[in-house]
Symmetry: C2
Subunit: 193 residues, 2 copies
DNA sequence: GCAAAAAGTTAATGTAGATTAAGAGGAATT
DNA sequence: AATTCCTCTTAATCTACATTAACTTTTTGC
């Protein structure tokens, strides 16, 4: 079932009745996108929150030179959105596209708010999820100011062992905040062959 | 009243009954700390979430050279904690201390969870607050990889006009991620006198 | 199965910001 | 009122990483 992974994810934090599960499922919509296809483009309003059921998405911003900088990867079981745009209705600064063929479930903001209002366990889940994500960003911020590029790379490998294998190196470079040239040099200079 | 500012902050998002207000207040404790006094030290478990009612706190981490890196300032009306340690019970990576004499309200994690379980409006408030904070960290992450130091400084001035006046310049330098020497040079070279 | 595009490599050169050091003005503690 | 500490400044030197460019290898689309 398309919605099973979503329900499983929620079930790790709260136990929903069959009715509640049904109500939640009814608000989520399925979409399949091909590699490189966009789910959000800079300047548009992010009116969806996305949950990945297969494949992998990324969010990124573009600097004044046109270089892309990856904020987040979202493999199976992850959530992704431009949170500011989603909350405020401002145009998004991030773009979200597919790294490979990907299946997602999405909720509109209106439906998401209604679910939170109707099902307190769902709101509890989202509160905890947002706090966990917040903790992650707090520590990533610290890591980025304190650690050198090689240590950030090591962190990435530890945190996303599956992605290291499947992702082009230049995407990893973009996430950890260095150029692909520098990452290549770093890996081929540092490691013993 | 000591708790008024807290209730006002919550009231911007949800309207609580007098009973609910009372229940919330009963779980928050008052504490006054002097300049440089700690509210959390690296290695301890962050078992409190802090709300500032006067003065200003900061959270920071220390690198291998002993240099402090500020993650967040919390002036009047702001929340601050080491979210990961608070959620998981792991030892904190952040320290929190007072930049000036400061009054805070704090809740233990157990009380915070009980309040969320009893008062659904409180949990709604916290869900929204966590999502807003998340949006802020997402964009700060992007800013830090895309913008040069001068632009990050300009952002800071816009975002915290009150702090710019009251904070020692080296604290601002630490927040935007440069050395005090470099910030000084940058400001005195760039500006027309 | 082939052409074209994308990804990875190597190396020379460039630069934003760090480090070190030393001095000057301010503010806090006695 | 003096002492101590903290903050800010200036300047020389240093370094992690960026940029540019040219080349090779791998992947993708038709």
């Amino acid at each position: 079932m398309q919605h099973q992974l979503l329900l499983d994810g929620i079930a790790k934090y709260v136990s929903l009745s069959a009715d509640e599960q049904q109500e939640i499922i009814s608000r989520f919509h399925y979409k399949k996108v091909k590699k490189k296809q966009f789910l959000l483009e800079t300047g548009d309003v992010s009116n969806r929150s996305l949950f990945v059921i297969s494949g992998c998405l990324r969010s990124y911003a573009v600097d004044k030179n046109g270089t892309e900088h990856v904020l987040q990867f979202a493999p199976t079981g992850w959530w992704i959105t431009d949170m500011r745009s989603y909350l405020t209705g401002e145009p998004a600064r991030l773009s979200i596209d597919a790294i490979e063929e990907t299946e997602v479930l999405y909720v509109s903001k209106a439906d998401f708010e209604e679910l939170n209002a109707h099902i307190s366990k769902f709101e509890h889940f989202n509160r905890v999820l947002a706090q966990k994500a917040l903790a992650t960003y707090q520590h990533r911020q610290i890591d980025n100011t304190i650690l050198a590029a090689m240590e950030r790379y090591a962190n990435f490998c530890e945190l996303y062992p599956s992605l290291i294998r499947s992702l082009p190196q230049k995407q990893v470079a973009s996430y950890i905040g260095v150029t692909p040239e520098f990452l290549s040099k770093m890996l081929n200079t540092t490691l013993v062959k």
